[in-house]
């Protein structure tokens, strides 16, 4: 049975519908990318999956194979409170908290899980470092290690690469693919179309209502993809031209991807509060 089954979801807030008619499943081993226009309700959908807000109607059913506390969550790379004094180790092990129940402190096996995940993310040497002094890529790996402490089976990611540079972004996606191959199911909201098409096996595109759900290869043949991709390319093209006009400099092919990421970020960061 599928880990998560969503039926006829209607999402919104303050009585305003953002998106509706959402139907999809997440199965074991899936790598599902959720894409859509700015403000289409991708983050709202993610929050509903995490039980942070309730759908207006419809149902989200988790199978018996997966418990609430087997789901890890990686938030949008938000600016954590700048003065928060927390070491990497403290943050990572806080992912184990839901395993504690009423027990006040972590036991040996939870400390072991935290250690393994820190080593897996290559941040074991940083464990005593203060979180706010790390680079963006390192911070994201800390949060991923924390999510893995909580998860094991399913990771929910909400635009995890926002604000990261090109090289770190690639590394990060590499880590995700590795985890996916090791059996962790992944559900990711993404603006990065190339990446979404590269690694995922399923696509969910949403707008005012569900546009597409299914296999990635089927999506690449569909009309939805063609129009969405064209729209996306136009955006990038505009930005490239703008840059040429301003700087008189044509971006190097090698860095084009990086630039694209940045311009996506700049475009989407402002509006996407859904």
């Amino acid at each position: 049975m599928a880990y998560i089954t969503c039926r006829d979801l209607k999402l919104g807030y303050d009585g305003r519908v953002v998106t509706e008619g959402i139907n999809f499943e997440v199965e074991e081993g899936d790598y599902l990318c959720i894409i859509g226009e700015n403000g289409a309700g991708k983050s709202t959908l993610m929050k509903a999956l995490m039980n942070l807000n309730k759908p207006m109607s419809g149902s989200i059913v988790f199978s018996d194979d997966i418990k609430r506390n087997e789901i890890g969550y990686l938030p949008q790379n938000k600016e954590f409170q700048r003065d928060f004094p927390a070491s990497v180790g403290e943050i990572v092990i806080s992912g184990c908290l839901s395993k504690c129940g009423w027990r006040p402190f972590y036991n040996r096996s939870e400390k072991k899980i935290a250690e393994e995940n820190m080593k897996r993310m290559d941040i074991w040497e940083l464990r005593k470092k203060c979180y706010r002094e790390l680079s963006g890529g390192q911070q994201q790996r800390v949060l991923l290690a924390r999510a893995l402490c909580a998860a094991g089976k399913l990771l929910l990611l909400d635009e995890p690469v926002t604000g990261l540079d090109y090289k770190v972004t690639c590394e990060f996606y590499g880590l995700l693919s590795e985890l996916n191959r090791a059996g962790v199911s992944i559900v990711m909201v993404s603006h990065d179309l190339e990446e979404a098409m590269g690694h995922s096996n399923k696509i969910l595109q949403i707008g005012r209502e569900q546009v597409f759900f299914g296999d990635k290869n089927a999506y690449l043949m569909s009309e939805s993809w063609k129009s969405f991709h064209q729209h996306h390319k136009d955006h990038c093209h505009q930005n490239e031209n703008k840059q040429k006009r301003i700087t008189g400099y044509e971006p190097d092919r090698k860095f084009e991807e990086a630039d694209k990421n940045e311009t996506y970020d700049a475009q989407y960061r402002g509006g996407d509060r859904s």
Partner: protein, 279 residues
């Protein structure tokens, strides 16, 4: 008289010893919660609550109870819960709600004290409620026990919930998403704040109690950069400042509350000027 003999004389009085015990336990519990409060951006709730506690104290004084805390504590806890709820409600901005609460409570409190008070020295009563000037040295044994028991409960709960409080403070969304009941812990934190503020009223008065909550935490955050060390350092600073402040107020005959808070301030200033960075 030399300093040691002055102190020896003072400590031969039981009320001075009581005052010492109360000052240390209250400062300690305030500083523990203070770290959470500062990081959760709840400092202002602490400040608002202290005004509410002043109003509640005025109401309690009308009823001429043996122990005013019977009324003050529940009222302050209720206010803490309401402030926490409105802080989450987008329609009423949290800071405005707090301003309304605190100013309203101050006005009503002063009004009640003025209209109903039978005491000859109204302004003296108000002053000691606000600044805790002399009340500390007139503590009764039962009030000392009340403070000590509350402090033990606060510190015990803090230790018991330490990891949960950290998780909810650092990233509430993540905690909720992985099945931690964040609202429950926020509620517990709010209630603990209310308890600490009511306890602290006896020591430093309602206007100065926020200082006991905030200063040690801020100083500790200047020195250490992980949560565990900050919490411990904050507690140590709070206890040292409380002891130093008490001793100074005895030797210099200054008001107890204001002296302790001044010592806290000096420590904060020193840590800010010379940030010793440790891991």
């Amino acid at each position: 008289m030399s300093i040691p003999s002055t102190l020896a004389l003072y400590f031969s009085y039981p009320f001075v010893r009581y005052a010492f015990v109360v000052a240390v336990v209250i400062s300690l519990s305030a500083s523990l919660l203070g770290v959470t409060l500062v990081l959760k951006r709840y400092s202002f709730i602490g400040d608002g609550l202290s005004h509410v506690a002043f109003g509640a104290m005025a109401i309690a004084s009308v009823f001429k109870l043996i122990n005013n805390n019977v009324i003050v504590l529940p009222l302050t806890i209720v206010a803490a819960i309401i402030l926490l709820r409105t802080g989450k409600n987008a329609k009423v901005k949290g800071d405005a709600a707090i301003a309304v609460f605190s100013v309203g409570a101050l006005a009503i409190g002063y009004l009640i004290v003025n209209v109903f008070s039978t005491s000859a020295n109204v302004s003296g009563d108000v002053c000691s409620t606000l600044f805790g000037s002399t009340s500390l040295l007139t503590l009764t044994e039962s009030e000392v026990w009340f403070s000590v028991i509350l402090a033990v409960v606060v510190i015990g709960l803090f230790i018991f919930l330490y990891n949960k409080i950290f998780a909810v403070t650092f990233d509430e969304d993540f905690a909720s998403a992985t099945g931690i009941n964040a609202d429950r812990y926020n509620l517990i934190i709010a209630i603990l704040i209310a308890v600490i503020i009511v306890m602290g009223m006896n020591l430093v008065g309602s206007l100065l109690i926020s200082a006991l909550v905030i200063f040690p935490a801020l100083s500790a955050m200047r020195i250490f950069k992980n949560y565990h060390s900050v919490v411990i350092c904050s507690a140590v600073i709070a206890v040292i400042c409380a002891v130093l402040g008490m001793l100074m107020s005895i030797l210099l005959s200054t008001p107890v509350g204001a002296t302790i808070v001044t010592v806290d301030m000096i420590v904060f200033a020193v840590t800010s000027i010379n940030p010793v960075r440790k891991g």
